[in-house]
Every structure is written in structure tokens, then in C-alpha cells.
């Protein structure tokens, strides 16, 4: 089983095809706010932001091997939004972990801007299916975490934390701990934490599962889709 690669703005491609997805029309994700978002005209946008070359991964489970990802190729350009769909257990999370560099592929390469990457990097931020918020930090400190690791100044971190918390409507929960929030609120914290790190590639593992339709429409998607220099892959 392997997940289908589903380009949000083009024809879906089905399992087995695994050909590079067509360029998404960014205008489709344009929203009322701000100027129209168009694909970047210069040549840089022609090289894919993310490309996977013959990626396979098998898990070792007490003796036997389980082939979770079987020879996947895909390309996502900056400004595109790729959705990976498939039944539970088909390997969506595994694929996203691979791109994030949390798993080492059994074979194949992950390329960012045509350069092979190994391991994690703040250019690729994943929102985990189980979120992975840090319970010992407040909501604000969670959002700040990636920026702190990147070495941003305190003033810059504070400003961005405030901005992204407002974006997900959690400003008044800045000093709460994550276990004091509801499931959907927690998911928004995870979203804010990933967005605040301002990655080139945003990976989301079922990011809107616990969000109500209102939040989904209003704040998060508006933001996710308003950057033309970012590639997003969602599982």
C-alpha cells in the first residue's frame, strides 16, 4: 500500500502513477486578503522545491520487514500545495516523516532545491499527527521554540509569537499550558508553532482533523495559502 498523491489544484494522480505532479495554480488559493498570489516568474520557481527520487522505506518489525513506502517519485514546486490521500495505515505519516528527515529512507533521496538533504532542517517543518507539543512549555513558548533554535532575537521572537498566536485566535492563551487546551486549540498551537518557524516546506500530517469548519476556512488556510515561496505537503 502506498498513498495516492493528490495535487490540490490539478488532476489527482492515482496510486501507481507517481509521476511528478503538475504545477499548482497558486491563484486558486488566493484569498481576499492582500495582493493576488501568482507563481514566481523567474527561473528559480521551475526547479522543484521538494523532490523525492525513488524513495522506499521498510520498517523492521521483529524479524520481518514491512514495506511502507515503495519507490515514490514526486516533485513539488514553491507555491504548490500537494495533498496525500489514502486509507489509514497506507504510509502518509511515514512519507511526511521521510521528507522531514526524521526517517532515513531505505533507498532513494530527498532533494530540496535540487540538493540532497539528510536529517532534519528548519527549512522543512512538520506538523505531527500527534502534534508533539511540549507540555513543559507554555503555548507562547511552544510557538517560540523553533525560532529560538534558529537563533532569532528575543524581540523578533516575541513579535512573531504574538502575530502567529493572533492568527490562530489563541492570543489570550499565550501563558496557558497545552494540557489546559482543547484538542482543536492544541492543533492550532501546533500550526502556529510550525508557521512561526517560517519554513520553505510546510509538511502537515492531517492538520485540520480536529478543527471546526469555521477556523479551517478563516484563519489557517488563509495564511497557509498566502505565501508563494513555500511548498506545502499535507497528509
Amino acid at each position: 500500500m502506498t498513498p495516492n498523491l493528490h495535487n490540490a489544484a490539478s488532476q489527482p494522480s492515482f496510486a501507481g502513477e507517481h509521476r511528478s505532479t503538475t504545477r499548482a495554480s497558486a491563484a486558486r488559493w488566493k484569498t481576499g486578503a492582500g495582493p493576488a498570489v501568482l507563481p514566481l516568474p523567474h527561473a528559480a520557481s521551475e526547479t522543484p522545491k521538494v523532490s523525492l527520487q525513488g524513495i522506499s522505506l521498510s520498517y523492521k518489525t521483529n524479524g520481518s520487514r514491512l514495506l511502507a513506502i515503495d519507490n515514490i517519485d514526486l516533485k513539488v514546486r514553491a507555491g504548490e500545495f500537494l495533498c496525500i490521500v489514502g486509507p489509514s495505515g497506507c504510509g502518509k505519516s511515514t512519507l511526511l516523516h521521510l521528507i522531514a528527515g526524521l526517517h532515513k529512507p531505505t533507498s532513494g533521496h530527498v532533494l530540496i532545491d535540487d540538493k540532497v538533504v539528510e536529517g532534519t532542517g528548519t527549512d522543512r517543518i512538520l506538523i505531527f499527527q500527534e502534534l508533539g507539543l511540549f507540555p513543559w512549555l507554555t503555548v507562547g513558548q511552544n510557538v517560540e521554540f523553533g525560532m529560538k533554535m534558529k537563533g532569532l532575537s528575543t524581540a523578533e521572537r516575541e513579535e512573531k509569537t504574538r502575530y502567529y498566536l493572533r492568527l490562530v485566535h489563541l492570543s489570550q492563551f499565550k501563558d496557558s499550558y497545552t494540557h489546559q487546551l482543547s484538542g482543536g486549540m492544541r492543533q492550532r498551537v501546533a500550526l502556529a508553532r510550525a508557521l512561526a518557524t517560517e519554513p520553505d516546506v510546510l509538511l502537515m500530517d492531517e492538520p485540520f482533523a480536529a478543527l471546526d469548519a469555521q477556523t479551517r476556512d478563516l484563519s489557517c488556510v488563509v495564511h497557509i495559502s498566502s505565501r508563494s515561496d513555500q511548498a506545502r505537503i499535507s497528509g
Binding site: 532534519t120 532542517g121 505531527f128 513543559w136 534558529k150 508553532r193 518557524t197
Partner: protein, 253 residues
Amino acid sequence: MKRAARQVIFYAILITLWVLLAKLKIWPPYIFPTPWGVLEALTGGFKDRSFWIAIAVSMKRMLLGYGISVALGMVLGLGVASNKFLEETMGGLLVSLQSLPSICWLPLAVLWFGLTEKAILFVVVMGSLLSVTIAMEDGRKQMPKIYGMAGRNLGARRFKLFWHVLLPASLPYIVTGLKQGWAFAWRSLISGEMIFVSLGLGQLLMMGRDLSDMSQVIAVMILIIAIGYIVDGLVFKTVERRLQNKWGLTPAT
């Protein structure tokens, strides 16, 4: 409240029994001390500052020795938990070494360091290092894997990953081991001081024996228990509860 009342009654009975036995004068006071004799020794010890000095000396050794073993134990425990080779080799050795009473390190310490402060410190460190290491290793294994992944994903690496993610994530799991390490260190220190004469509470205890002053012996024993209890019951329990609250491991009250 009810629990406190029961405890008061229990200790009242205990002391009454003691008073009664002492009043009967079956044994001479240098064998069986009277409660008032012990009280006198306690107040006297604090008044002539000898208890204060002994407490200060012992606590200084404790803090130093325990500090060293926590720092070392964290590094060791982390190494053992994250390295298959170390786990298979060192892991077993650590567990087997734990059955060695820490005072057994004293002859070695004296040969290495002489009758110095270093020898005492060595015994204290050896007494608690193993339990801290094993606690740290267990903590790292029990800790949900997602935190390490989330940390790496957000750009934490090496020391930053350890300091900002792995350590805080495993704290609620290692605090029990840290507490046990403290208790071991405390015992090792007192036994070390008893053999190795140089100030401290253990030496005060031996001095009581040398002077056949049973009241002082009991007074110092009470002191040792009280300090152990205060650190364990107040310091560690509070830390433990705080951690669990903050980490959301207990239902909010």
C-alpha cells in the same frame, strides 16, 4: 486532618512508652537514654553550635557529591539509553554494581585520595551515581519518542536537543530516581563520616559513642532522620508534584 491526628496520637504513645521505660530505670541511662536527656543533648548541641557546624559540613559535602553524581549520571544515563552498544555492555555492569554497598568504595577511596575530603566525596558520588544513571536511562526510555522527533524537527540538535527537549521531557520520569539517588548519597555520606573522622554528622555520632553519651547518639540520629525527611518529604515531593502538574500528568485540581 484525620491522618495528622492519627500521627499525633501515634507519636504521643511512642513517647509515653519511652518516658515510662526510662522512669522504670531498668537500664542505666548510658544504655537507654531518657527523652529529656536526648532533648537536652539536642538543645545543647544547637546552643554550642556543634550541631550547626556538623550540619553545614555534611550538607556541603552532600550538595557537592550529589551535584557531581547528578551531572555525571545524566551524561552516563543518556549515553546508555541512546547507544545500543553501551546499553548491552555498560547497562549490565551498572545494574550489578548497584548491589555493592557504597561504603565498600571507602577502602579504595582512602588508598586513592588518602584521608581527605576527596575520599568522602568519592564515596558519596559512588553511592548515588548508579541510581541516578539508571533513573536517567529509564526516564529516557519511558519518555514518549514524539518529543525527540518534534525537537529535531524544530531545529534542536545535540546539546540543544538534550537541554531543551530530552531533559525536560524525561524529568517527570527521572525525578523519582533523583530522589532515590539523594537518599543513597545521604546514607553513604553518614557511613563515610562515621569511619572517616572529620567533622560532619557521622563523626558527631561516633563522638557520642566514644564518650558513651547515648543521649547525643540518639539526638544526632534524630537529626539525620529529620534532615533526610525534610529533603525527601518537602523538597523532592514538592518538586515532583510541581513537575507533574506542569507536565499535565495529574488531573487539574
